[in-house]
Assembly symmetry: C2
Homo-oligomer: 245 residues x 2
């Protein structure tokens, strides 16, 4: 038996998120099914990040154990022949038998949140961005974002339906890139609470519109309750870009 690691990209539009659930098709389910068919084993993958329904990934990570004779590096190619077009194995390799994609001393996750900011929506971006028709001031968004960088209790930016008790996380950086009507928030940290990136995006969108002053972000952090922050921005704008170990 050896442990194979996969870097997985997917368009989350037509999936009920990563994790297997009774009421709809998920990424995990499709991966288990196709890997099992390929190797002839009964495979249950372990994923790094349980993305929500409609959320995308360019570099989620998963592992599984197999006795298959297919070389681990060739697994990506072999699986991509069978996978639906909206799930792609970007890379595969062998890892240590006890390597776990969620429990590691050092993990850095990078997410992007995409906003399309124009008078009318762009149909090509409807599944990959949040549409905002109000003019946005990205300089104000950058000022607001600065308060979030560093180690903080992010309980105000966490959906109340969470089962974690420790809500302290470290955000390494938030970069805001504007290219015409496209605004991208790129956020890197050691871990993110349930809906944290989408609540940060929803809050910074309010800052960009002038509905909140940039300093309001600091107050929200200090208030330490979810109702203090802005709304949760739509799932479609969120992409898990990658995970570094």
């Amino acid at each position: 038996m050896r442990r194979v690691r996969l870097i997985v990209a997917y368009d989350g539009t037509n999936y009920c998120g990563w994790q297997i659930q009774p009421n709809g098709i998920t990424i995990e389910e499709v991966l288990n099914r196709e890997i099992s068919r390929l190797t002839g084993e009964n495979i249950h993958i372990i994923g790094a990040s349980r993305t929500d329904s409609g959320v995308h990934a360019l570099g989620n990570v998963a592992v599984f154990d197999t006795a298959s004779s297919i070389p681990p590096e060739r697994m990506a190619y072999a699986l991509n022949q069978r996978m639906p077009k909206d799930i792609v194995i970007v890379r595969s390799d062998e890892t240590l038998p006890d390597w776990h994609p969620r429990y590691q001393d050092k993990i850095t996750k990078t997410y992007e949140y995409h906003i399309y900011n124009a008078p009318a929506p762009n149909p090509l971006k409807r599944n990959y961005s949040a549409f905002v028709s109000f003019p946005m001031d990205t300089e104000k968004m950058r000022k607001g974002a600065e308060y979030l960088v560093g180690e903080h209790d992010f309980v105000s930016f966490c959906n109340i339906r969470t089962n974690v008790s420790d809500t302290v996380r470290t955000v390494h950086s938030i970069t805001i890139i504007q290219n015409g009507p496209d605004i991208v928030l790129r956020i890197t940290g050691n871990g993110f609470l349930y809906h944290m990136v989408r609540i940060i995006a929803g809050t910074l969108i309010r800052v960009g519109r002038g509905f909140y002053a940039p300093e309001k972000v600091k107050e929200i952090l200090e208030e330490k309750k979810r109702t203090a922050a802005g709304v949760t921005a739509p799932a479609a704008g969120l992409v898990l870009v990658g995970i570094d170990y």
Copy 2:
């Protein structure tokens, strides 16, 4: 009666192109249906560009005549309430009663052809780009593209199932923009033959891969037959960006 002009954006993935046809749903058909329902008239729009199945637009142009009391500028908003999410009216205004979107003294069309160039495909771009896994040399592509700029007989870059007799067109510019794995060919001209942009893209992809020398583009132009050029690149990569009059 007055003539209303629409700027139309659409994701062509799920449509059999612009023009009404018996075997599938088209952009023109949806526009006729929704404008007719809105105004209570029997509307037949006139479009500027009959894009193919799977081809996208950010700025196609169409006109229709109506006695509706809805102000022409408000038509976009009113129609977007009814339109499927993959078709958006970007703008609407009133134009002269005899203004025709195809027959004008001066027309400049801009297309973009999108290539995703990486070892593995990107599922988020599968409907909006051609995937090329071989390394590409964009400097060579730029050299090859230079031969196409200017007034030429583009018969080598025209699908043989065409009904035009004059195959001379003027390409004003071809710009090749690379941003990591994303390569965009932006091409502007006074008009384009059937499949012309996709055959140019297919030919320049061969140049980028090193399969054709840049000078081969000149030879193809001079040979004046379709079989001389590269394959037609996939529809998904093509976007009609806009039309200037």
